[in-house]
Structures are given as structure tokens and as C-alpha cells.
Amino acid sequence: MTDSRTDYELVKDFISGDESAFNKLAMRYQEKIYWHARRMLGNHLDADEVVQQVLLVMYKKLKSFKFQSSLYTWIYKITATRSLNLIKKNKIKTLLSLDDQITDSTVSGNDIIKNIEEKERLDNVNKMLQKIPPKQREVFILRNYDQLSYEEISEITGKSVGALKANYFHAFKKLKELLDEKGE
């Protein structure tokens, strides 16, 4: 059942001690968090880890949230940071394990997509996304999938609009090249 309370009201209620208000907020944003993380990281298990981390940060920090920015921008900021962090963590883990094998990050036996064709399509798209640098990928995902304005992305990433447009251009160009290569 959808809750008619605004984000502001839910946050206020949560701060006043209504734990169920947090659950409502989490349910409102969980899919956006999941899909952003999944596109950034390329697989379900890592995306799930990010979702849980983001909820934990929200739970701990909501009490000090001042509504100086919109709640969804704040949540995206945490999601984007956590996703980049997990990319870094995975890199460190690979190094410490001295694992020379390149693991396919899109391979996962545990997934939430039931239709095989749809899963294959998503895996192909994710594989290509993983080939562009994380910062460019982040901008491309926020712009193309999450459909945020450059001003909102700037608030999330802390980068200038000009730099974001340049990132988007390079990401777009690289993806086209990858698709061209695939088509050859």
C-alpha cells in the first residue's frame, strides 16, 4: 500500500520515533537505489550489498538531515558514493587475493530477473557499462537511466556541470564504439 505522506513528513515522523516511517521511505527508494547500484557494479549481489549499506547510512543520518537539498538527491549521493566505494573495495580484494584472473562481474547465480532473455539483455548492457571508467559510468547512468538534470547530478557528485557534460560525452562515445565493435 502506498503512503500518501511526503518525504518530509516521513522523515519528521521517523525522527519522532515512528520506525515504520523509515520502512516506508526505504520502500519508496529501494528500487532506485538497487538499479543505480546494479548498473554501476554490474551484478545483483554487489547491488544488494549497496542497498543494505545505503539503508544503514540513511537510518543513522536521517536524524541530522536538514532538507537543504531534496531527500532523493541525498539518497542518490549516498548510493553513488557507496557504489564507487564497492568498486574500489572489489579492486583491493582482487589485489590482496593476488587473483590474476579477471572475474566476470556480471556472472551471478543469484539473480532477481526471471526471464532468461531479459537477463541476457541486461547482462550485455551491464558488461559494456563496466568497460567505461566508473566516474563516466556514474554520470551516464544518472543522466540516461535515472534521468536527472545536470544540476542535480552536480549536487550528487560535486562536479561542475561542464565537467559532467564532458564525462557524458566521452561515456556515450565509448559505448557507441563498443557497440560498433560488437556489430563488426
Binding site: A26, Q52, R82, L86, K89, N90, L98, E118, V125, Y168
Partner: protein, 204 residues
């Protein structure tokens, strides 16, 4: 010329052209079949990488996110954070000492062996702890203010910190006998700087 067109195409598809630019671009499109062809290719990319409803998602996953979070929260409340942090820090100290030895022996060509023999002693959990600590130490206090760029661009002086620890001391630390001595050489902040520098190094 081609580069300019590509930029125009992307800005056009991204809705970033002014009314005047858009008008001129559409006129160019009408006059140039090759430009139109390139535009179609870019449009296909945009369509492939844009919002698409995933129809066959297993709803039980999304329905289970909040209960899973609540269960983790309960578990976390029962854990002893200080003990865990102390353990993670100790493992990190050992790892840093290992790095110093590795750096030292790289000059003689046997660094990889030393590094490998040390990391063999680390369990999967140790590695997970180190990676967690390295990647998140700056986030725990104030995650919304965390900026990856800041860490990457900051020039931490790992070499300077490493220079203050002799090779002999590093051996002792890696052997696990004199960890306390290491604390006296550098403070926690300096070690955190060292770890950040470690992960920023190209070979890491």
C-alpha cells in the same frame, strides 16, 4: 569536422542544443544522409542504455529488502564495534608493514615472493576487513560529505611514513611480535594516510 558533428549529435540527443542550434542541426541533417546515419547509430545506443522496465523481476527480493535490513540492524546493535575496529586496524598494520618489505625487496627483484608469502597468511575474512577498512574508513564518520576525488587527488606521503620504519622493524611487525612499537612510529592519522596512498598507487 567529424568530432564537431559527434558532439552536436550527442548534445542534440541529450536535449542540450539551444533553439537556434537545434534548428541549424536539423537543417544539416536534412542535407546530409551520412550525418543522419551517424545520428541513427547514436540514437540506437541511447535506446539500448536508457530506462527500460524490467518486467520479470522477482518481487520477493524487493519485498524482502526492509526485513533483511531490520534483521541486520538488530545484529549490528549486538556487535561490539570497538573490538572489530581494533582487529581490522591490527590487520592493516601488518599489511602496511608487508608493503614496506615488499617495496624494499622489489628493488632486489624478489618483492613479489615476499608479498605473496605474507598475503598467504591472510584469510578471506582478513582480506575482506582490509578492503572494507581501506575503502570505507573515510565514509563512516560523515558519508554524505565524502568525496572520492579528494582522496584520489590528495598527495599522501606514504614514502615518508615508510622511510621512518626500518626494514628490521617491518620484519618484527609482520612476525606479529611488536605491533605496539609501530604505533609509536606513526599515529593513527598517518597510518590512515598511508593506507589511502596505498590504494591510490597505480600498482594497487
Amino acid at each position: 569536422m567529424k568530432k564537431v558533428n559527434e558532439e552536436l549529435i550527442i548534445r542534440y540527443l541529450d536535449g542540450q542544443l539551444s533553439a537556434e542550434e537545434k534548428k541549424n542541426f536539423e537543417k544539416m541533417l536534412n542535407d546530409s544522409p551520412s550525418l543522419k546515419k551517424v545520428l541513427e547509430k547514436y540514437k540506437a545506443v541511447k535506446d539500448d542504455f536508457s530506462v527500460k522496465e524490467i518486467e520479470s523481476v522477482d518481487d520477493t527480493y524487493f519485498n524482502g529488502i526492509v526485513p533483511a535490513f531490520r534483521a541486520k540492524l538488530e545484529k549490528k546493535k549486538k556487535a561490539i564495534p570497538l573490538q572489530r575496529a581494533a582487529y581490522a586496524f591490527t590487520v592493516l598494520v601488518i599489511f602496511t608493514a608487508a608493503f614496506i618489505l615488499w617495496r624494499s625487496y622489489t628493488v632486489n627483484g624478489s618483492g613479489q615472493d615476499i608479498y605473496q608469502s605474507i598475503t598467504e597468511y591472510l584469510t578471506e575474512d582478513d582480506i575482506d576487513d582490509i578492503a572494507d577498512y581501506l575503502s570505507e574508513s573515510d565514509l563512516t564518520s560523515n558519508p554524505e560529505e565524502f568525496a572520492v576525488d579528494e582522496i584520489i587527488s590528495t598527495d599522501y606521503d606514504l614514502e615518508k611514513i615508510a622511510d621512518e620504519i626500518s626494514e628490521e622493524e617491518s620484519y618484527s611487525i609482520v612476525s606479529g611480535y611488536q605491533i605496539n612499537d609501530l604505533y609509536s612510529v606513526a599515529n593513527e592519522e598517518e597510518w590512515m594516510e598511508a593506507y589511502q596512498r596505498l590504494i591510490n598507487k597505480e600498482n594497487l
